[in-house]
């Protein structure tokens, strides 16, 4: 079946890079027989993405258990072969992962591209669309989880379960100035990034007081 998607496998067909060829075969199988198509069981968290350039649209839905673990990851797509294969591949990767682990995968577009094999340049945005929709779904989960959180300390980063207190402590102790520094110190913001505005507020508040 290799080579049935002619543009996609231009490079791999040359036979120069065998790992790419392996990836290409897998990509082709994923396209023709995609996994994780459909809707996750309710209650689910939904993320969408679309390309105004090529018109592709994608919807990701996640079902998450009480331990913040993704038990179902499903997608629906109206887009090219690369989009379908990318979505199938990323959904497969995130099932069983915590939302934090999944969100971290969702930030790594380059890694997903590499797993797909040699993509022609005009298709490089397709895997990015899948990552975007996944992260958007996790953000929905995070927003809900943050609101429903009943612990003593306010929860900021739901992906890695980092409280407001912890972030304040880290900022004060290390003199942190940026979100990236906060993430480096305590992982807050390393996942879906829905807490970025909250971390920004805490930074301003603490550093203002300082």
């Amino acid at each position: 079946m290799v080579g049935l998607l002619p543009d996609l496998f231009r490079a791999s067909k040359s036979g120069i890079i065998t790992s790419m060829q392996r990836n290409a075969t897998q990509t082709e199988e994923l396209f023709f027989d995609p996994k994780h198509v459909g809707e996750a069981t309710e209650p689910s968290f939904i993320g969408r993405s679309a390309s105004f350039q090529c018109g592709a649209t994608l919807r990701v839905s996640l079902h998450v258990d009480d331990a913040a673990r993704i038990t179902e990851a499903k997608f629906k797509a109206a887009g090219c072969s690369v989009l379908v294969a990318s979505a199938s591949l990323l959904m497969e990767q995130v099932v069983g992962k915590t939302t934090g682990e999944a969100a971290a995968l969702g930030q790594q577009v380059a890694a997903l591209r590499e797993k797909l094999g040699a993509l022609p340049p005009e298709r490089s945005e397709c895997p990015a669309m899948v990552c975007e929709a996944l992260v958007a779904a996790i953000q929905k989960y995070s927003d809900t989880a943050r609101e429903e959180w009943e612990g003593d300390e306010a929860l900021i980063c739901t992906c890695f379960c980092v409280s407001e207190r912890t972030i304040e402590r880290e900022i004060q102790a290390r003199g942190l100035k940026t979100i990236a520094e906060v993430t480096g110190a305590c992982r807050a913001g390393a996942g879906c990034r829905s807490c970025y505005p909250l971390i920004e507020d805490i930074l301003e508040e603490v550093n203002g007081k300082w």
């Binding site: 049935l4 998607l5 023709f32 995609p34 090529c54 629906k76 090219c80 072969s81």
Partner: protein, 401 residues
């Protein structure tokens, strides 16, 4: 393999190959040479010229000049005219031309020509009043296709020719590439000055085309060099290909009289059944079949993406084309469908089925068996659930059934 992409290219006919074979093996020589081998080649070229002239209904074989392809013919017609008439820089053409004309005219607009683009309606048809209004005293050339490569919609070149003649001194060029061999043509009946055709669209090999230049129309040589083609197009004649084009024209002329009918019957069956049985299918181009090529059906499967459909059909052994953005290197959906105001979600899912002389009813039946399964599977995958659900419900069905 079920080949339903005959507007892209066609299989070389066995009769054509047989005609070419001697010129690829034992019979060789440069037709410009004076010795007997050369003269033999020359007479093969002249015979092919007569065969082409006869299919087109040209008044004289000398009106046919061989080129390398349809794009060369189109470029020569328009570019050659402008070279000859540098002050007549107003060009009229349509929004739905093949790239050979459209991209050339875009380029000419950038380098100082004025281009009027005629719009089409939702059926892909022109309003001849637009043309009347666009024609001016300084209009140099009007270039209009006879048959659209994507939708098969035919432009009335007889009427267009009259309008051009009555309202201007402009030269009238017709891109006939997609029409030759598919519908009867009689150029001496039309007010057409220049007419481009391409061999590989009618079962000749790739790499040969022709330009009809009406007697009396002056066109400077586009390729400058030797005196081939009566000094009108330099470069050693591609004798095997030219012989192939001649044989293909002969084949089209002698066998397509009922061939058009049988192809049309198969196309109609395919088109009717798809439109009747697949809820999200809609036709692109006029529903009036008298105004469309007999072999082409351009159908959108709304809310799906064409490359997906094309690749699944390919896996099932069926070759078609798509106007989807995903399949074009520009990442934009077909300019022809956009000019027709086909909604975006429909243009994305457009598939062109273009039949040819070798298709059989069994192949159409097989396509009609495979296609609904593919469309159903992709509909289940589409995020436009609500829209698809209501389209399917209107047919009394659910997506999964």
């Amino acid at each position: 393999m079920i080949y339903l992409d005959n507007n892209a290219t066609t299989r070389v006919a066995p009769e054509v190959f047989d005609a070419m074979r001697p010129y690829l093996t034992d019979t060789y020589g440069n037709p410009s040479s004076a010795h007997s081998l050369g003269r033999q080649m020359k007479s093969a070229v002249e015979r092919a010229r007569e065969q082409v002239a006869e299919l087109l209904g040209a008044a004289d074989a000398s009106e046919i000049v061989f080129t390398s392809c349809g794009s060369e013919s189109d470029n020569w017609a328009i570019g050659g005219f402008l070279e000859q008439n540098p002050t007549r820089r107003h060009i009229i053409t349509t929004r739905v031309e093949h790239e050979a004309v459209r991209t050339l005219c875009e380029h000419l607009a950038e380098i100082g020509c004025e281009v009027t683009w005629l719009e089409v309606d939702g059926s892909g048809e022109l309003d001849l009043d637009d043309l009347r209004r666009a024609l001016r005293r300084d209009t140099g050339i009007v270039s209009v296709m006879l048959a659209n490569n994507e939708t098969g919609v035919l432009f009335p070149i007889d009427e267009i020719g009259k309008v051009v003649r009555e309202n201007s001194d402009a030269v009238f060029h017709v891109d006939g590439v997609q029409a030759v061999g598919k519908i009867p043509i009689d150029l001496k009946e039309f007010d057409v000055d220049l007419f481009a055709l391409s061999g590989h669209k009618l079962h000749a090999p790739q790499g040969v085309g022709a330009l009809y230049i009406r007697n009396g129309v002056k066109l400077p040589s586009f390729i400058i060099g030797g005196g081939q083609e009566s000094g009108r197009r330099a470069g050693t004649s591609a004798v095997p290909n030219i012989v192939g084009l001649g044989a293909a024209c002969e084949l089209a002329r002698t066998t397509n009289i009922d061939g058009h009918e049988s192809i049309m019957k198969l196309r109609n069956k395919l088109e009717d059944e798809i439109l009747q049985t697949i809820p999200n299918a809609r036709l692109n181009g006029t529903a009036d079949r008298a105004k469309r090529l007999p072999n082409t059906a351009n159908i959108s499967f709304e809310y799906l993406e064409g490359e997906n459909i094309m690749l699944h059909l390919d896996k099932a052994g069926i070759s078609v084309s798509t106007g989807s953005a995903c399949h074009s290197t520009t990442r934009e959906s077909s300019p022809t469908l956009r000019a027709m105001n086909v909604p975006y979600a429909a243009a994305q899912g457009s598939i062109r089925f273009s039949l040819g002389r070798y298709n059989t009813e069994a192949e159409i039946d097989q396509t009609l068996k495979v296609l609904p399964e593919i469309i159903g599977k992709l509909a289940e995958m589409s995020p436009y659930d609500e829209q698809l659900k209501s389209l399917y419900a209107a047919h009394g069905r659910s997506i999964n059934s």
